[in-house]
């Protein structure tokens, strides 16, 4: 489903980040990926650190509440393990690019940043004039990834997928992609609706995989809590190249599933 050189989006705004899928990329040794994600988070820090990434499209690259993403920084500041190309957005332009992609429109529109240096650096954001009022607005090229991967709480036997809590841009990222993979906490016979949930119909999803705990150290509301301790611990693990690589070897390359990885971390899936 995913090949070297593909453009891949693994979305989930702090919540429901598909970490297990990212680990599988590392185990399979995928290379030259263009990765799209609003907040690279630990999942892309790991993929950058193992050298799987050619280009990164993002809007905020930190370890939320902790500080830096050290593998992301090392790649940009020192080209380790290889230089990466970056294509940088704001959250608003990323959100608009996702809506445009889901709508199969060439661009989205936003009111944001005339005069910012981002406009100079990101060729996919251009100034446009409103044909009705003459106002100056920003246009952003649509995101159209080859593959989108998300993690969700539940799927039913027919492959319909349900997520709730902070639902981020997942629905848009799914609808913008050519191929879609969803990992879920639970597969149920029939989905019971939850207030504020998003239901993604089976027809727009290619594959559903049952991966309990597949978002760790992110979380799945109703199933797990965000492992803030791990986000803190990642700061020290990822700061040093050798320690990072040893961690990946032991916990990702040295395991076959998220279940095994969680066991090794002393967490119950």
């Amino acid at each position: 489903m995913v090949a070297d050189g593909d453009t891949v989006a693994m979305e989930g705004f702090t919540h429901l980040i598909p970490h297990a899928a990212g680990h599988e990329f590392i185990r399979q040794g995928l290379r030259d990926l263009t990765l799209i994600r609003m907040t690279p988070d630990i999942i892309y820090d790991q993929l950058i650190g193992v050298g799987a990434v050619k280009k990164l499209v993002f809007s905020w690259g930190g370890n939320p509440g902790v500080g830096s993403l050290h593998r992301f920084r090392d790649a940009i500041e020192h080209g380790w393990p290889q230089p990466i190309e970056i294509f940088e957005h704001t959250h608003a332009s990323m959100a608009a690019a996702w809506v445009a992609g889901a709508s199969r429109l060439p661009f989205g529109v936003l009111r944001e940043a005339p005069g910012s240096d981002l406009e100079r650096e990101n060729r996919s954001i251009r100034s446009v004039e409103c044909p009705f009022t003459g106002e100056s607005l920003s246009a952003v090229a649509a995101h159209r990834p080859d593959v989108t991967i998300i993690h969700a709480q539940r799927a039913d036997a027919n492959g319909n997928v349900q997520l709730w809590g902070i639902v981020g841009v997942q629905k848009e990222a799914v609808l913008a992609a050519d191929r879609v993979i969803v990992t879920v906490e639970e597969i149920v016979a029939r989905i019971e609706r939850v207030a504020g949930d998003v239901l993604v119909p089976a027809e727009v999803i290619d594959v559903v995989c049952h991966v309990p705990g597949g978002a760790h150290p992110s979380y799945a509301q109703g199933y797990s809590r965000r492992d803030n301790g791990f986000y803190r611990a990642w700061d020290a693990i990822s700061r040093d190249r050798a320690r990072f690589t040893a961690w990946i070897d032991e916990h990702v390359r040295g395991t076959a599933t998220m279940g095994e990885l969680l066991e090794r971390l002393g967490k119950t899936p």
Partner: protein
């Protein structure tokens, strides 16, 4: 209370700037601490909005990330990220946005992207996130940052978020609807834009801080307002409330 640290003073002063009932867009870290402190003091009905999509969250502890589960569980409503940025932020429904920054210039433009050259930065920072949209469209912006010449710089290494652009009426001419930064609160004092030139002026110093100290912590020749006041001291109940929420937070995230 005299034993409040400079950062605690800054947090309390930022909290005091929040008015009850306002819709407040909250950045993570110090802005979030200040907004939640305001909720526990004079502004119980402050509506906290986090960019993850949670509106009117009422967390018991300070979230580590803007997407902690407690923000969603205690929110009046949770919306998708595209809805948050289009319907709520860019539509201009925020009364106030509280933002931090790595660099601030004399027109309160902000850098959160890089230190050094963009193509080969000395320090790569997280980037823009939601700040440009907030700064463009919230009715007003309050910036919170620790004062040092490395932060309050003569020229930004990267202009991530527009404050008063090049000063004067340049912000309005650029078509940005909000008023932009109305106050910059630091650990030493308070800066506010001159009504005409929009250059930041020193309008207040915190208790025990003299004007020269603020000047030497600012890399451009900082001008003072015609009258520089002294911030009312941090009250014992304010400090107690701040430490209380921080203690609860430490316990919850440990």
């Amino acid at each position: 209370m005299s034993d409040a640290s400079p950062v605690e003073v800054m947090t309390v002063v930022a909290a005091r700037a929040m008015r009850n009932g306002q819709w407040c867009f909250v950045g993570i870290g110090l802005p979030s601490a200040a907004a939640n402190l305001a909720r526990s003091l004079h502004a119980p009905d402050l509506v906290l909005v986090y960019e993850s999509g949670t509106i009117d969250s009422k967390p018991e502890v300070l979230p580590l990330s803007i997407g902690d589960g407690e923000l969603a569980e205690t929110a009046r409503l949770v919306v998708s990220v595209p809805e948050m940025f289009a319907y709520w932020l860019q539509a201009g429904r925020m009364d106030v946005g509280l933002l931090g920054a790595a660099q601030v210039d004399r027109f309160a433009n902000l850098n959160t992207t890089v230190i050094g050259e963009y193509a080969s930065p000395r320090t790569r920072l997280p980037g823009a996130g939601g700040a440009p949209a907030i700064a463009a469209t919230a009715r007003e912006i309050i910036v919170v940052a620790k004062h040092s010449p490395r932060t309050f710089v003569a020229s930004l290494d990267f202009r991530t978020t527009i404050g008063h652009l090049d000063g004067g009426a340049s912000r309005e001419r650029a078509g940005l609807p909000g008023r932009g930064p109305v106050r910059v609160i630091t650990d030493l004092g308070v800066l506010e834009p001159d009504p005409e030139t929009r250059e930041l002026l020193l309008t207040a110093v915190h208790p025990g801080v003299d004007v020269e100290t603020v000047m030497s912590a600012t890399a451009w020749p900082l001008r003072t307002a015609s009258k520089v006041t002294t911030t009312p001291p941090v009250e014992p109940h304010e400090l107690q409330a701040l430490r209380h929420v921080q203690d609860r937070t430490l316990l919850a995230h440990s």
